[in-house]
Symmetry: C2
Subunit: 211 residues, 2 copies
C-alpha cells in the first residue's frame, strides 16, 4: 500500500543476503528509471556489480527478479501511524500512500505498471496488497477499542473505501496529487461506515462500562 | 469510465469512416486478446482486411492506433442511467463500471494497461476519464435539483469517491468483482458528502418552496 524502499536494509548478513540486496536495489533502480523492458538479467547484474551467472542461477529472468522485489517489499516491517483517532490514522495512511505514489520514479507506481505485464508480477502484487491491508487493519481495531466503531465493522472494506480515491486520483486518473484528498477520503469513508447499521459504536455507557 | 464498445457503430458513412471502424475493431480485438505488444500495423491491417499502407499512412504506428481507439471511445454518446435517486444512480454507474471491468478481455482494463506503456495512451486515457466524469456529473446535478444535495457540492469529487473503490478492487487489487460493492461504495460516498458542511441539502421547506 505504502511504498517503503523495497529492499530491506538490515537483513541478517551473509554473502547471499548481501547479493540479494545489491540485486534488488538494481532492479528497483532500473524499474523506476527505465521501466519494465530495462529489467534484464544482464542490465541488473551490471548495475549490481554481481556476476551474470549468479543472477541467472538465482532469479532466472525478468519475471523472477520482479517477483523477488515484491517479496522483499512485503517483508518490510511496516506499521501504520497511531495518531489517536480513526480519521487521523486513515489520513496519515492516505498521506503516506499519496507521497509514495507522487514521488519521481515511484516504485509503487512501477510495481503496479509491471503487474500489467507479467502474470508472476500480478500474483506478487496481489499478495503485497493483501499483506499491506492486513497490516493496516490495526487502525480499525484501535478505533473499535476506543469505541469509535462497533466491532462488527468490516475492516478491509473500510480501508479500501478510505484509500481507493488516493490511488484512483494518482495512478488511474493520472492527476496531480490533491493535498486535501488524504483527509477528505478518510473523513468520507468514516462517515460512510458510521451511516451503516453495522458499524456505529454502541452508546457511550456500553463502551465505557462493559458488563 | 464505463467501457462501451470503443468503435462507433453508426458513424456517418463513407469509405474513410468504414475503414476506421474496421481498423479500430481490429485494434480492440488484438488488445483484448493478445495485449499491447500484439498491436502492430501489420497485425491490425491483416485482421481488419485493410491494406498495410493505408493503416500506416493514417495511424503511423501502434501509438497512433491506440490513441485513436481512445478518441473513438470518447466520441460515444454515453449517458448515465436515471434511477430517480442519487444512491440509485451512483449504484447503477458503479455496476456498469464493474461489469465492463470484469468481462473477459475487458477493453477498459486493456486501455488502462496500455496507458502504462505509452505516453500517448496515457494522455488519451486522461482525456477519456475527464470526458466520462464530465458526462456523469448530470447524476449530481439531478440530485441537487431533487433537493438531495446542496448546490455547493463538488460533483467531480463525489463521483471519484463513489467510483474509486470499484476500480481499486478489480483493476489494482485484482480481486473478483464483489456484487455488493457497487451499492456499498455509492451509499458510503453519499453518506460522506452529506456529513460535510458544504453539501447537506437545505431544510425541506426551502427546497420545496424556494423564495
Amino acid at each position: 500500500m505504502s511504498s517503503p524502499s523495497p529492499t530491506p536494509r538490515t537483513r541478517p548478513g551473509g554473502r547471499t543476503a548481501r547479493i540479494r540486496t545489491q540485486v534488488l536495489d538494481a532492479v528497483s533502480a532500473e524499474l523506476a528509471e527505465n521501466g519494465y523492458d530495462a529489467v534484464t538479467v544482464d542490465a541488473v547484474a551490471a548495475r549490481a556489480g554481481v556476476h551474470r551467472a549468479t543472477v541467472y542461477r538465482r532469479w532466472r529472468d525478468t519475471g523472477g527478479l520482479i517477483a523477488d522485489l515484491f517479496t522483499a517489499a512485503g517483508d518490510i516491517d511496516w506499521q501504520p501511524r497511531d495518531t489517536g483517532s480513526l480519521v487521523g490514522d486513515l489520513t496519515a495512511l492516505n498521506q503516506e500512500i499519496q507521497d509514495s505514489l507522487g514521488e519521481p520514479n515511484s516504485i509503487a507506481v512501477a510495481l503496479i505498471a509491471v503487474s500489467f505485464r507479467s502474470a508472476e508480477a500480478a500474483d506478487a502484487l496481489r499478495r503485497l496488497w493483501a499483506d499491506r491491508y492486513h497490516q493496516s487493519e490495526v487502525v480499525v481495531r484501535r478505533a473499535v477499542a476506543r469505541g469509535e466503531l462497533a466491532p462488527a465493522v468490516d475492516a478491509r472494506a473500510l480501508l479500501i473505501t478510505a484509500t481507493a480515491p488516493v490511488y484512483h486520483q494518482v495512478v488511474l486518473l493520472r492527476l496531480e496529487p490533491d493535498p486535501e484528498l488524504p483527509r477528505r477520503a478518510a473523513e468520507s469513508a468514516v462517515a460512510g461506515v458510521l451511516s451503516t447499521s453495522c458499524c456505529a459504536p454502541a452508546a457511550p455507557s456500553d463502551v465505557t462500562s462493559p458488563p
